[in-house]
Each structure stands twice: as C-alpha cells, then as structure tokens.
C-alpha cells in the first residue's frame, strides 16, 4: 500500500503525515508539487503548513500547482485524498470540497488539544471510527474558520457531508462547528485539525488520529 504525501513550497507537516502513514502500516511516498507524477500511489495526503506563505489566500496558489491537476483527476475517479489544515484549504480551493476557510473569528493563530466528534464513519478516511465517537487531536491554525453560504451549509448538512465536528468548544468560529467535510462519494476528506499529530503517546495528546491513516488501508483494499 503506497500513500503519497505532497510537498508544496511551505508545506510543514509533510514529515508528520509521512510518519503517520508509516505507523499505520503503509509505505509513504514523497510527491513533489512541480511534477506530474503520482508515482503509482493508492491514496494521497495533502499535509498542513503554509504553502506559498498563505499568500493571496491560504491554499489558493497550491491548488494550481502542476501536480494538483493530477490529484483532481484521480480524486474524481475515486482515489482517496485527505487534506489536513492547509491541505483542506487546498482541496476547497481546488473545488474538490465545498466551502472555504477564513481567518479565525478571534483573529489569533490557535494551537490546542481539541475534542471532535466523528460524524461520518463510512468515508475512506474515517471507517475505523464509530459514528459519534469523540476523539482528541491537536488543532492549530490562523485561517481555519469554515464558512459557506447558508444554503450551501444546509445542502452540505443535508447530504451528510460533515465528516467531523468540533465539540466542547469551537476553536476558530467555524460555522455549525464544522471541522471537516467529505466529498459526495466519501473518498475525499478535508479537516482543519491534525490527526497526524496524534499518532504516538510520546508526542501527541492521544493516538486518536491514527484511525484516519488505518482507515484508508481498508478503503483502498475494498475499492
């Protein structure tokens, strides 16, 4: 099982995503933004960071990187894609996920251990969780406030596409406490919190995040 981790200029958590993939039992494969080469991977992670320094809008420039054309094409064919934090912003900017991420309501960067509820336990990246399960993983962002027009929010909710929700406090003012959403087919997931920072007892607040990376192993096999 080969899982690609894309490095854009300014990607930061690519090393963490790579570790999480390895700990989940898959082979991490480094992918480079400027190539048109997905290196035969079975799934793709877009890691956190500040691609292109968040210039223009967070994720906007990375969404137009050469490799992203390949990612969008393969995602539309069903390849599992996970966007974490900046990766989530890139997926929204690339049109693979609905909504947008804007400056936190309180205008500060915020890093804390955050409780989440898994709303959808049947996506490619969440099937190792139970629906309604509470997990704790770090959240850290300056532009993580999920927004969409009210009608779009209703549609996203109505289609059951909210994958993860903030509970016990909303760290950034996200609408309807939305922490992550999924594509209609459940293959593409984006979330602001960082499951890749919760994969070892030694360094994380929990190991609750590992489930995202083990889930996709089954998703690929069953696909």
């Amino acid at each position: 099982m080969r899982i690609g981790v894309i490095t854009f200029p300014g990607s930061l958590d690519d090393v963490d995503a790579t570790r999480a993939v390895r700990l989940a039992g898959a082979e991490p494969v480094a992918l480079w933004h400027d190539d048109h080469d997905l290196k035969d991977v079975d799934a793709i992670v877009l890691p956190g960071g500040f691609s292109y320094g968040d210039y223009l809008r967070a994720g906007a420039i990375a969404a137009r990187a050469p490799l992203m054309q390949d990612v969008v094409d393969r995602a539309r064919q069903g390849m599992p894609v996970l966007g974490i934090c900046n990766g989530f912003q890139v997926l929204c900017e690339a049109g693979l996920l609905p909504g947008a991420l804007t400056r936190n309501g309180h205008l500060h960067f915020r890093n804390r251990d955050q409780a989440l509820r898994i709303e959808r336990a049947d996506t490619a990246w969440t099937q190792d969780y139970e629906a309604g399960q509470r997990i704790v993983v770090p959240v850290k962002n300056g532009e993580g406030r999920y927004v969409a027009a009210p009608a779009d929010l209703d549609r996203v909710e109505g289609e059951g596409r909210v994958a993860v929700r903030y509970v016990e406090g909303n760290p950034n003012g996200s609408m309807r406490d939305i922490a992550g959403v999924t594509s209609e087919n459940g293959r593409v997931v984006g979330l602001m919190p960082h499951p890749e920072h919760a994969v070892e007892d030694l360094t994380g607040p929990s190991t609750d995040g590992l489930g995202f990376f083990t889930s996709v192993l089954k998703a690929v096999v069953s696909a």
Binding site: D54, G95, H108, F109, G173, T203
Partner: protein
C-alpha cells in the same frame, strides 16, 4: 541617517559620476564625513583612517560603522566575555565561541547547536516585525552551522502588565514570534513571559533556536580556496533595516528622537522556509565550502567575516546583487539588513549544481564575487572600486573598550532593605489571599494565552513543551534520543546582586532541564543590560559574567556562545540587569522524561532540597508589597549538582511520576502549577513556618510525586539531598482541591479561574469574539 550617505553616493544613473571611489577618497582626504551620524566616535573614525592610510570611502565608512557597532563588535563586552573562553575545555564541545553558534556532542554521532539572541529595540519600535525577524535571524544562525533547526523558544519581558504601552507591544510581539515560527514549521517548546516596570519603553525579546546535525555535517563561516565563487542567495536586497545594528541596537532610545521604524527589518518566513530546505539539500550534496547568514550588518558582515575567517582575499561585484529597490546606493546595499539572505562559498565546479538546488526550491541565487589571492576585501560598483580594506580590521579587529566600572551607589541601601521587615500574612485567610495573588499575578499566571498562538506540534517530535519546566525534543525516532532546553533570567535577583543573580539564573535553567530527567550539557546566554557607557551598568555586566563563568566552572558546563544586548534603557534609566541563561541537556531516551504535573491521586508528594527564609527579590515581595530589596537567595552549586544527579537517577529508574522546579513564587507557585496541569489536587501539611514554606525562593529545590517514597528517600540519601514529605495527591474531578493544613482548601476550579483569567483580561479574550463574526458570504466551490 541615510541622508548622510545619499549626500555623496547616488544610485545608478546619470549622476553616478559622484560615486565615492577609493581613488576619489585618496584625492580628497579632507572631505567631511558623517561618521558620528553613523554611530562612530571620533577616535574610531581616526583609527579607520589610520588602517586605510586615507579617508574611507562612503561605502567603507558604512561597513566599518555597522561592523564596529556595539551589536556586531562586542567592543564593550569582549574583555569580560573572555572568561567564558577561559573555562576548561569540555569534551562535549565540538565548536566553541566565535562561530555563529556553538556545537555540542549529544551522543550517537549527533551534534546539537543552539543559541539565544536579542531583538529588543526593533520589537519596541515595531512589535510584530521586530519579534518575527528576531526569530528569523536566530534560525539562520543555526542553519548556518549545517544543522536542521528543530525548535524555538522565546524569552519575553515587558513593562507593567496594565500599562497602555504594554498592551501595544505584547500582542504584536507574541503574534510576531508565532507568525514567523509557525510559518517556518518550528515548534515553540517554551520560554518566559515576565513583566516589570523597568522594561517599559525597553521590552526584552530574546529568541532561541536549536538545531540538530550529524558530527560530520558541521559547517563553518569561512572563505577559502582562491577562485571559489561567492554566492548570495535568498531574498532580494531592499532598503529595510539599514543601520539596524548601529542605530537601533547600539544606542539608547531618546524619548524625543525621530521615528526609527525604517531601521526595522521586515520578515518573510515563507522565503526563510525555502531557504532552510534549499540549504539542507545543499549541505547534503556537499556543495559549499563555507557559509554565512546575512543578519545584522547584512553584506558588510557576511563578506568581511567570511573573508576574515578564511584566507583574507575576496572580491565582490555589487552590481550583481539582486535588488528590491533600484535606487539603493552601494553603501545602503552593503548595510541593508533585508532578511532571509545567505552567502555561500562554492567551488566553481559546483556552482551549477548549487544554482539548480536553489531553482528547485524557488530561491534566487546569484554569483556576486570570488575568493581572491591576498588579504584584501574589494568591492566594485559600476566598474569602479568603492571598497578596498583588510577584512580582519572590519570583522575581527574592531575597537575594544575596557570601560570604567563602578558598583551602583544605591546597592548598599537596596541590599539593606531586607524584605524580612515586610508585613507577613498570618491568618489562613491572609495566607490564601497572598497565595492566590502570586499565582494570579501576570508573572505567575497561566501563559496559555501566549502559547496557544504558537505551534508546538509541528515535526512531531515535541515530547514536552510549556507549561512543562523544560522543552524536550526527540532527535532520533529509532533510539528515542532527545534533548531538553530551558531559558531563565530573573532580573530582580540580578539587580540585587548581579554575580549571584546570574548564577541563580543558570541554576534555575540547569534545574529545569534536570527535572525533565535530562543530563545538563552546555550553556548559552543572552546578556541584556543598560548602557555600557554608564560605569554602574558596566559593573553589573562584569559581575554577571564573572558569576556565570564561575558557576559554569563549578557545574562543569561549557558556554557555547551567546549574545550581548546593551543600551537597554530609555533616557538614563537602565533595565534591571537581565542575563537570560539557556541550558541544553541530553536524554538518552526521551520515553523516560518526567512531566511537571500531577496526574494520579494517591501518590506521595515530596519536597527535595532545603528551605531557608529567603525573600529578597521574591515574587511574594514584588506582587504583594511592590518591594525589591535585600539579597537574592543563596546559591549552592554543589547542592544543585547533587539534585540534578538525583533527578537523573530518579527519572532513569522511573521512581517519580512528576517533578517541578521551585523558583519565582516558591512552593506556592509550584504546587498550584503541579495541581492545575492535569487537574489533580492534593492534601498537604507544611512543617515549620507555613509562610516561609510557601513563599521562600531558596534555590536547589524540586517537588516530586512518587508511588515509592521509600525508594526515593534511599536514592536521595545516596545523593545527599534532603527529602521532606508534604502529603498525598488527591481527587481529580470537578471537586478537586489543593488543601494545605492551616492555610486553605483551594478548589482547583477557583484556583484555575484566577490563574487563567489574568492574561486574557489584560490582552484580550479571544473567546469573546468567536462566533460573533457575521455569517460569511463566501460562495462555495
């Protein structure tokens, strides 16, 4: 001040015939030059003329002025700093003082480089950019040594917490430290946040970076090999930060002075992140023979230091330097402190490969010169020679001053003003009130408002971070080898006695590293003082250096480098002498690290070390009485060493479940923090005078918890450390209390409310605005 330069030099264009060349300088010896506007004294200017045998050109004058500034030349501090170099050679020290940062052997073939540097004055003028570029600068210093930067820390001091100007400076500085470090992908693993009236108008912003490499990867800043190319890479050169070191860092702020904002650099962490990755790839492929970052004094510093440390000869063609602003004069280009730039010495055969790596990372790289025969640094502009100097005279042979020193006239009175005479709390109600006051004071309060703005998780190796006593980072995932770091700098102690104060700061950082279970290995420092031209300040500086050097000798620790920040005063009022000391420790296995907080009910709480009635410079005297006087706590280095060895043994054997250092606020502060960390209370009994037990700041003390008190006692007896049983940890639910017989039963909820409310109340409550932002109208994709 750039006016003086522009008078003569103009940029490219039809007026370039006015360029001040070496040839012109030789012909016009009597031309008046604006040396004093550039911060040079008349005897220093005379010496430059002596060295060159003529008047300097405008560009040369610019170079000498920045390189001979206090900030770059250490001219007032050098004679004292020699004490650090005189310490016994440590086996752990791979590279010592003099390079960009010292390098320490941490075992298994790993080397660690770490350093702390000040960005005080820029952070006052422009808090966000000043603090941000402080982080950027120290990160480049670490990178220059060949290391991958792996973590940062910040030690911050501001004026009174409730002063209007503090409210201006604090949010900007914190956002700047966070904004830059977060975007670079470096976890912030700890630091300090303190408030004192002496820092009003002169906040202290000290940033530390630590990097890791293999022994064989150490790089040095020197230009060798005739014909090798000088490559400038990173950001373009602009007009920002011109004269930053000579104007901002080396002179006292004058309240009526002109705005200094143009002297502050502007940071771009995205470019720095690319620069880091490009450099590490360049190191891996062995493409450089020498490398130097461009920080204070910019190209003047990088070229003269590289040449001076190498064989001496270098030629630079200044026209090749990529500019952001084409109107810059050559002198301004040489002085510019534009951020995110590096300078490398590259063999001709490797230049193409070097440029290719830079291209891959989107980093601009330009060959601007080459290493030459001989011992002159020459610079051309538009085909004419504008600099021709011996580089050693610029970089390493600047002026050295043994300035007059005098013990402060008020010190006897200050030391005689013993806090023993202050009214003490007697009733349980009074004791509890004072306890809460110390814990909820801006210095004692919860720092989450700050640290939530910093990424502590990135890179996935952060094992401990604030609020733990030390930051601990894993450096090898296979072996779990790691390092611990702490920064401490109590200015009140140093004001009362700079010799003892510096030693106490070292002892505290040493202890903070030791409580995590690490073995302390090496020391860095950032020495923040007032104007060296004041004999009383110079005395404080000399005493602090002497104290630190003596203590390092006793503890067997080398000083690997450091930074001196002088002129920290506004008008004629100097800050408290503030030697901020960093200690690096090593963990053979970070999985045995010891956290600071209580987690489990039913464990025994023990105090290690001896408590004496010592209140001079204490948080209690300061918070409750606004008092600073008496003598600081006594230093007992053998006791610190014994305690450190005991803690290492207890950590290794897994005999303690938590350990927390006692420092500012004494046991009162340590107990509150231990309980609040994970919300676990305790029932305790304090023997003897309860007031002394709670508020004394005697050094060499730690509170630990254990499930095996007999084993701890036995080990402590072996180490010669006194053990006092305080009680037992208790409930961890909503009803948890921190109970001390005869003092109070403090509900943790109440304690937490007081402790955590302080900073948000002062600097804004993020929660108040969450969700109150109007619903967005951003369309979905």
């Amino acid at each position: 001040m750039t006016q003086g330069l522009s008078d003569l030099d103009t940029g490219p264009g039809p007026l370039s015939h006015q360029l001040d060349t070496v040839e012109l300088a030789a012909r016009t010896p009597d031309l008046e030059q604006p040396y004093s506007e550039l911060g040079l004294k008349s005897d220093e200017y005379a010496r430059i003329r002596d060295i060159l045998g003529r008047r300097p050109t405008t560009a040369e004058l610019a170079m000498y002025s920045v390189m001979w500034s206090e900030h770059c030349s250490y001219k007032s501090s050098k004679v004292h700093l020699r004490r650090f170099g005189d310490l016994p050679r440590s086996e752990a020290l791979l590279v010592g003082i003099g390079e960009n940062a010292g390098v320490v052997d941490v075992g298994d073939g790993y080397a660690v480089t770490f350093k702390v540097e000040s960005h005080n004055h820029p952070s006052y003028v422009e808090p966000y950019q000043g603090a941000a570029t402080g982080v950027g600068g120290i990160v480049r210093d670490i990178l220059t040594m060949g290391a991958r930067p792996v973590a940062v820390m910040d030690s911050l001091r501001f004026g009174p917490a409730d002063a209007p100007d503090t409210a201006r400076v604090v949010p900007g500085v914190v956002a700047g430290v966070g904004g830059y470090g977060n975007c670079l992908g470096l976890p912030n693993i700890g630091g300090e946040l303190l408030f004192d009236a002496c820092y009003a108008g002169n906040p202290l912003v000290n940033a530390l970076c630590v990097g890791v490499m293999r022994h064989e990867d150490v790089r040095l800043a020197k230009a060798e090999g005739v014909g090798n190319k000088v490559v400038l890479f990173g950001a373009r050169t602009g007009g920002d930060g011109i004269g930053g070191v000579s104007v901002l860092a080396s002179e006292t702020f004058d309240e009526e002075g002109p705005a200094k904002r143009p002297s502050v650099q502007v940071g771009d962490p995205f470019t720095e992140k690319l620069l880091i990755e490009a450099c590490l790839e360049i190191f891996r492929e062995d493409l450089v023979t020498g490398i130097q970052d461009l920080g204070g004094a910019g190209l003047s510093c990088a070229t003269s230091e590289l040449a001076s440390a190498g064989t001496g000869g270098m030629h630079v063609d200044l026209d090749a330097v990529p500019l952001r602003d084409s109107t810059l004069t050559p002198a301004e280009i040489l002085m510019s402190e534009s951020q995110e730039r590096m300078c490398a010495i590259v063999e001709p055969g490797k230049v193409d490969a070097f440029l290719a790596v830079c291209r891959r990372w989107g980093v601009l790289a330009t060959v601007i010169g080459e290493v030459t025969d001989g011992d002159r640094l020459t610079v051309d502009w538009h085909g004419e020679r504008i600099v021709d100097v011996p580089p050693r005279t610029v970089a390493h042979e600047g002026p050295v001053y043994d300035r007059p020193m005098q013990r402060p006239a008020d010190l006897d009175d200050l030391q005689a003003d013993d806090p023993a005479a202050l009214p003490r709390p007697v009733t349980p109600e009074e004791l509890a009130a004072h306890w809460l006051a110390v814990v909820a004071s801006p210095d004692g309060a919860d720092k989450t408002w700050v640290t939530e703005q910093y990424d502590r998780y990135v890179r996935g190796n952060t094992v401990l971070a604030q609020p733990d006593d030390a930051g601990v980072v894993r450096i090898d995932e296979e072996t779990s080898r790691g390092i611990a770091l702490a920064l401490d700098g109590n200015g009140r102690y140093a004001r009362l006695d700079p010799y003892t104060g510096a030693q106490l700061n070292l002892a505290e950082a040493y202890r903070n590293v030791a409580v995590s279970g690490a073995r302390p290995l090496a020391v860095t420092n950032c020495l923040n003082f007032g104007s060296p031209e004041e004999p009383e300040v110079m005395w404080q500086f000399a005493e602090a250096v002497r104290g630190l050097a003596d203590a390092c000798r006793d503890l067997g620790l080398p000083v690997t480098g450091g930074n001196v920040s002088l002129y920290n005063q506004t008008g004629d009022v100097a800050i408290n002498p503030t030697p901020v000391i960093g200690v690096l420790g090593v963990h053979e296995d970070v999985r045995t690290r010891v956290p600071t907080g209580w987690r489990t009910p039913g464990e025994t709480v023990l105090l290690l070390g001896v408590t004496r009635p010592e209140f001079g410079g204490s948080a209690w005297a300061s918070v409750v009485h606004g008092h600073l006087g008496g003598r600081p706590p006594a230093v007992d280095l053998p006791a610190e060493k014994a305690l450190g060895e005991l803690l290492a043994a207890l950590g290794r054997e897994g005999l303690v479940t938590s350990a927390h250092d006692l420092a500012d606020g004494g046991l009162a502060q340590a107990l509150a923090e231990s309980a609040l960390r994970y919300g676990t209370g305790a029932r305790l009994t304090l023997d003897g005078d309860v007031f002394t037990a709670l508020f004394s700041e005697s050094a060499a003390r730690v509170v630990v918890t254990t499930t095996d008190p007999e084993a701890v006692r036995a080990t402590a007896e072996w180490a010669g450390v006194l053990v006092t049983e305080l009680g037992t940890t208790g409930g961890d639910g909503p009803d948890a209390v921190l109970a001390v017989d005869g003092v109070a039963e403090l509900p943790l909820a109440e304690l937490r409310a007081a402790w955590s409310a302080t900073l948000p109340a002062l600097f804004g409550t993020p929660e108040a605005t969450v969700g109150s932002v109007p619903a967005g109208t951003v369309p979905t994709s």
